[in-house]
Each structure stands twice: as structure tokens, then as C-alpha cells.
Symmetry: C2
Subunit: 452 residues, 2 copies
């Protein structure tokens, strides 16, 4: 692989710069104002794949943001690479050190919205394939890229894409969009992820929206609306933030799964310090991991009463809403979680609150002995001189069930982020050395997966 490494080293500056070019496009999928940027990002990625020599198609399904589907190479094995070009919203006023869509290098880290989640992973995988091609002339297997623009909004059209174009995602193994290393620098292979149900609770008073100059004589419903949403949310969770209404559906992890946990170097106290948030009581590393992988969560992501947009609106408000994110371990589907939540609110007297589901995805699992897992282990061993850490799941979510598990494709996460990458947060970043170590690892993976 030495010649491959040398190619990467020669291209180091060019590869970093093109990653920054992609990060400059504010491809925020949740915000209709960025529709043109979404188009630009998809075209940028399609064009880059064409320069790699791939057969590329931009495809829309039912009004979706464009999917970039590409194929190159040939061989017995087919590798699916799943990435996304969309990112979470971000603005300097959130507290960023530098403009989120003006990438900046500081002390060996590259800062930009999307650089960790997931434009960095997308680009090192593509660049590794280029390095392999430049070095060896052709690939030892078929590679399929499936790159979407809706990961950050819950991949709403992905199941329809898979139904319509099953041959474009068919593969023997999949490298998943995310992936990171431990604090100690050891790559982590995650063999699945939790599901998610994201809902909006909506509550409306019987009154009209009124000009606020009437406030001296009428009773505003604002605080009642707020209290009621607050109480509804509190009714959903126990003292540790777990959703009451899913309690009887939570199953204990298998002994094999439990056995993986002590090998994972995770200190929740370090994580807590890093994030500036106190831990729930009674957590050692194993118990924290058990909860993160195998228990559901219920998070208040946002709460609104009245007008919370820019500037000034002089009203006595008449409505309120709350955004709630639930992570679901294997065995609890988003459908059952939604029904349970609606039943729970009704039983607790909150039938005036409407539950609007915004995102729902199944949890997914990959068997630890799948060829793609073994190939990833060997590739990490070759570059890092040590075995990767195996996570049975990751706490986050994604459409792995629909894209992979339902098609029988084992999937694994292997990527260039680190514990302080701040995905979805301010000052999102990757370490530049991680980026190139992963580029080299991916060159090995291409060969190992062809042979394993």
C-alpha cells in the first residue's frame, strides 16, 4: 500500500482544499431557503464522482432532494458507500468561533458545519478510491455510492428510493456514513444504530391571536399554554429522562452484547466534562453504555410559545409547540412508540395536544462476523497497528434498517471524526491527521473486502 500512501501524501493539500470547497456550500436540508444550495451540493458531489470515472446519476424520488447514485469498478464483491451531503443548520450567532460555512484550520483541526457529519467521511472515501485507482489502475471490487441530501431530516424518501431502485443499493457490505475514533485514537466500528421517533406536540388556545396593546384587560393564555406543554412533557419521562410509556417494551441486551461493553473505553465523566452537562446519577462506563445502546431516550429539543422568529411581533399568543426526539433501541419500532405516546397523553388528560410525527426510523444491527466487519478490522489493524473497538450499536440513528438490514446487507461505521467533533453543535470539526489516517485505512479496506 506504500504507493497509495504516497499518492495521498502528494495530494494532501488538494484533498483538504476540495473538502473545504464542499463545506462552503450551506446545504441545510431542513430549511427551504437553502433549496438552491442543496442542488449545488448534489451537483458538486456528482461532478466529483464523474472525475473519479464513476457512472453517476442524480435521481429524485417524490420531490426529494437529489440522490447521487454512482458506480465504478468490478469484481465479485460489491461495496456500498452511504454518505450524505446535507448538514444541520448553523450560524455564527449560535456561538461559533468562525463562520460555520467558511472552513477554517486551527491547530491541526478543520472547523466547518458538516465537516464531521458527514462531508469529511464522504470525501476521504472518494479520495481513497482515487488513490487506489491512480496506484493500481483499477479497483478489486465494485463500489456503489449512495449519497443522499436528507439524512439530517430523517431520510424521508429513502425507503421509496430503495423500492424504486433496489439494484442501485444492492451490495455485499456497506460502509455507513458516520464513524469515529476513541479518545485514545483507536478507530471504532459500530455495528448498528438506534431508531428514532421525532414528533412535534401542538397546543392551541380557544382565543384568537390578539394585538398586545389589549394586555391590560384580558388574561393571556401564554403561561397556561407553556405550563400545559411542560406538564405533558414531564408526564412522558421518569426522573432519569426515560420515556415511561415505553418502559415495558425495553428488553435486556444479550450476554454477548453485554460482554462487548467492558472492552469499550468510555468514561462518562470525561464525556460529561467535555459537554459541560452533569451526568445522571449512578453511571459507570458499562451502565452508561448499556443505557446509550439499549434504552430509549426522550429529549425536549425545542419548546415554543407564541412568536419566536426574528425581530418583533406584538401579540398576545394563542399557540405553543414542542419538539421531542426519542431514540429507540432494537425491538421498539417508531410506529409502536408513536401509538404508545398518543395513548399515554390521552390517558394523562392531554387529549387537547396534537402529536405530529416528523421522523421515524427503525433500529438496526449487524452481525459481528460479517465479511465487511472483518475487512474493516483488518484495514484498521494495518494502519493503526491495533484492533478497532467494537460497539454493538451507536446511540445515534440513521436509515440503516431500510437501506441495509432489510436488504440483507451488513453495514458498519468507520469514519474520521473524534469525540470532540461536535456534530450538530457549534465549532464542528475533524482532526486533519484522523482524516488522512482514515483515507489510508479505506485503501486497505477496498482490498480486504475484495478478499475476505
Amino acid at each position: 500500500m506504500q504507493p497509495c500512501y504516497e499518492h495521498i501524501e502528494r495530494q494532501r493539500q488538494a484533498y483538504l482544499e476540495e473538502l473545504q470547497d464542499l463545506c462552503r456550500i450551506p446545504s441545510v436540508s431542513t430549511d427551504p431557503a437553502h433549496r438552491a444550495d442543496m442542488q449545488s451540493a448534489a451537483e458538486w458531489v456528482a461532478e466529483r464522482l464523474r472525475r473519479l470515472g464513476a457512472q453517476v446519476q442524480s435521481l429524485n424520488v417524490e420531490g426529494s432532494h437529489p440522490y447521487v447514485s454512482a458506480e465504478l469498478g468490478s469484481g465479485e464483491r460489491t461495496l456500498l458507500i452511504y454518505d450524505h451531503y446535507d448538514v444541520q443548520p448553523a450560524s455564527l450567532s449560535d456561538g461559533w468561533t468562525s463562520e460555520p460555512f467558511e472552513p477554517q484550520v486551527r491547530d491541526g483541526y478543520l472547523y466547518a458545519r458538516g465537516v464531521a457529519d458527514n462531508k469529511g467521511n464522504l470525501m476521504f472515501r472518494l479520495q481513497a478510491i482515487e488513490a487506489y485507482l491512480q496506484t493500481f489502475g483499477d479497483l478489486p471490487l465494485r463500489v456503489r455510492f449512495f449519497i443522499e441530501g436528507e439524512e439530517e431530516i430523517g431520510s424521508p424518501h429513502l425507503p421509496a428510493f430503495v423500492r424504486e431502485y433496489p439494484e442501485r443499493v444492492r451490495a455485499d457490505g456497506c460502509i455507513w456514513e458516520s464513524g469515529r475514533r476513541s479518545d485514545e485514537g483507536i478507530p471504532i466500528l459500530e455495528l448498528g444504530l438506534r431508531g428514532i421517533l421525532y414528533v412535534e406536540l401542538r397546543l392551541r388556545a380557544k382565543s384568537r391571536v390578539l394585538h398586545s396593546s389589549w394586555a391590560n384587560i384580558v388574561q393571556s393564555p401564554a403561561l397556561d399554554l407553556e405550563r400545559r406543554l411542560h406538564q405533558a412533557f414531564l408526564s412522558l419521562i421518569d426522573a432519569e429522562g426515560r420515556p415511561f410509556f415505553l418502559r415495558d417494551l425495553v428488553s435486556q441486551p444479550s450476554l454477548a452484547d453485554l460482554a462487548l461493553l467492558p472492552r469499550i473505553p468510555f468514561d462518562p465523566h470525561v464525556a460529561s466534562q467535555e459537554y459541560g452537562l452533569p451526568l445522571l446519577p449512578g453511571l459507570d462506563g458499562v451502565e452508561a453504555l448499556r443505557r446509550l445502546f439499549f434504552e430509549p431516550s426522550c429529549t425536549l429539543c425545542g419548546l415554543r410559545v407564541g412568536y419566536t422568529g426574528p425581530g418583533v411581533k406584538t401579540i398576545i399568543p394563542n399557540d405553543a409547540s414542542a419538539k421531542i426526539d426519542m431514540r429507540l433501541p432494537p425491538g421498539i419500532s417508531p410506529q409502536i412508540a408513536l401509538v404508545r405516546m398518543q395513548q399515554h397523553l390521552k390517558q394523562h388528560g392531554f387529549d387537547d395536544i396534537e402529536v405530529q410525527p416528523l421522523v421515524g426510523m427503525h433500529a438496526a444491527r449487524t452481525a459481528p462476523d460479517a465479511a465487511i466487519v472483518r475487512a474493516a478490522q483488518k484495514a484498521v489493524q494495518a494502519v493503526y497497528n491495533q484492533a478497532p473497538i467494537i460497539y454493538p450499536l451507536m446511540p445515534a440513528s440513521g436509515p440503516m434498517y431500510d437501506l441495509c438490514q432489510a436488504q440483507g446487507t451488513p453495514a458498519v461505521c468507520l469514519g474520521a471524526t473524534h469525540p470532540g467533533s461536535s456534530a450538530h453543535g457549534i465549532d464542528e470539526n475533524i482532526a486533519i491527521e484522523d482524516y488522512f489516517a482514515m483515507t489510508r485505512t479505506f485503501c486497505h479496506l477496498l482490498r480486504e473486502f475484495a478478499q475476505t
Copy 2:
């Protein structure tokens, strides 16, 4: 005036249609996405004034939305007409019966965002001048139009405009942008308005924004942030929603002011039914009016924790904010209200909450014996065969102090809205008969003010 009336009658359909044209422009000043619409609305108004024969200039001050300044006619007296082409935000999803920017006539009412506040008033005044000119050849006085695009965001550049172009607002009397009739159909003259201080309270946790998949092990600050803002707001008000921290600054109205109140036909119970909101206890008509005119208010217009924008953002939030509107009677300046609020929050232990002022305006008063008031009384008498109702103030706010009182110009409100016009609310509307009765009244006012 009969020939003037006949001209208005002949132009009835054309005048209504051009009002609807103006209402089709979504000139929402608070939203940067509507910047081009603001420009279009200003140009539309300037062009319409040019067709009237006025000398028109579009002027910007320090990056403001355009001011449309126009002048026509001559005579000893100068009348200033103050209107605005900007409107509050509105969307069908707020609960409108028809698209807010697609005007619709139903049962003699015209529905559209801005038709009551204040595009209707702007247009009938302009059309009355046209009718007068068409009928009599020229005007008996000089008319100055001062039309801004920032009334709904607190007229932030108006004081600078007045400083820079004092001759463009100099006048012997001013007809103010708003104005309405009673339930019984009698026009109301309002001789002033309350001031306003609109602030945003901001609160930030020590933690970073975190990906919500970590929720199983950390304590989210979301509910604490919400509770703290809630408590801070509660600390500001007494049981009837009055701001505690301004209590000792409230002065009782004069006997002359109090004597006006029983003559005002206002039943707070009818208003309460109309709005769907319960009244505060112990209110008869006079007491309700005393509070609306001479007491300050403190209204929670919006409260936000975390992400409340469109779609999905999967975070453990770390910040919260609240928008608070305070109406200020004569004698309490926005400056003193801001200082008192900051002191109050500090004294009550909320020094972690930042107070960001967004809008501040002084209250204003006009003497009941000013020429412009007497002219308006005569004009109403001529068309409605009865005297107008005199309000010492109106409960709402506007830049009357800076534009008029500080220049020694008496100002009065005389306009075409009615108690159910729903300014700032859903299904904003005017009655078409009110519109044309006010057009006729304004023709009289031009003559009366020249002669009074």
C-alpha cells in the same frame, strides 16, 4: 362636496382594486426574506403618489427600508399624512380563512394582511385627495406624505429621518396612520398613544449544544432554562399582569382625562367575547379604559427553548429566550422602563439573564383643542351626522412622539378600521362601507383643516 362624493362612487371598483393590488405585496418588514417585497411596495406607493401629481422622493436612512416622502398642493396650512406600507407576518397555517396575501371580499368585508393596518388608511387618504383634485382642480392646503416601511418593527430609523429631513415632516397638523370606529359605527379620534418597550430576555446554559443521542446519560438543561425564564417573567408582573417594576411611576390621569372616559362606548365584556379571552376581574368600562390608556402592560409575546424553527433539529439545547412587550403610558419613558427592568431582574437574582431591547418609543399626547382635532370633528360631523368619540389616547404605540410631538405638530388618528379588524391577527379585514365613508370624510377634512 357632492361632486367629490360622485367621483368616489364612480371610482369605487377601481379604488378597491388598487387597494387589493397593494395588499398582494407581502411587505413583511421583520423578515429579511421579504426585502425585495419591501422595495416593491415602496415603489408601488411612490408611483401611485406620482400619478396623483405629487413631488415624490424615496429616501433611505442608515440602511432603512425606503421612506416615501411626497408633497403636493399649496396654502397657508400644511397637513402631514403619516402611513406605512409594511405589515406583520402572516401565513395561511396561522388559521386564516383565505391566503393572507390574496385579498378576498366576503360579505362586504375585504380580508388581507395589512388591509386594516395600514394599507387601507393609506389608500383612502390618497384617493380622497385625488377625488378632491379631480373635483376642485387644486388643494386648499399643502399636503405632505411621510410613508415608512418600518412601523411594524418599531420605526427604528424614524428619529434619524426626522433629524436629517426636518422640512419633509414639518406641518401644522398630522393625520396618524391608524384610526377606527366604534361598534356603533361612530368614528373615533384618538389624541395620542402609549409608548412601548419591547425586549428579548436571553439565557444560556454553560453546556454546549449536544447531539440528542446522548440524552440517556446526561441531564439536559432544557427544562431548567424554561423554568428560569418562566420565573423571571413571573417576577416581573403582578397577579393582573402589570409590571411590578414600574408601579411607583404610574400617575393617575387628570380629571379632564377621566371625564372623557364615561363618554367612550366600550364594553370590555363584548371585547372579551370577540377575542375569546377572559377579562381580568373587576373591570367595568371606565376602569378597563383607565388601564388601557394610563397603565403600563407587560406581555409575553413569545418564549423559546432550543430549536423552534421548521422541521427537525436533534439537539439537547443550551439556550432559551423570551420576547416581552411593555406598553407605557405618558410619563414612563422606554429608557427608564429598561433600566428598571434590568434592576428588577438583578435584584431578584436573575443576573444570568441578558435583556436585549428591540424597540423603544415614547408615549404621545395631542391637546383636544388643536386645529387638526377640530377639523377632524367637523369632517366626521359632516359625513356621519354625529360627533366623533374622543379617546385621550390609544392603547397601542407608534412613533408619534418623535415624528409629531417633539416637532410641535398635533396629531390625531382618523381611519377606516373597526373593532373586529384583527390588526396583527388572523383574517385581518376592513368593512368596505367604512372605507368609502372615510374617503368622503377625508375630502371634508382637507377643506376644514385649510379653514380652521
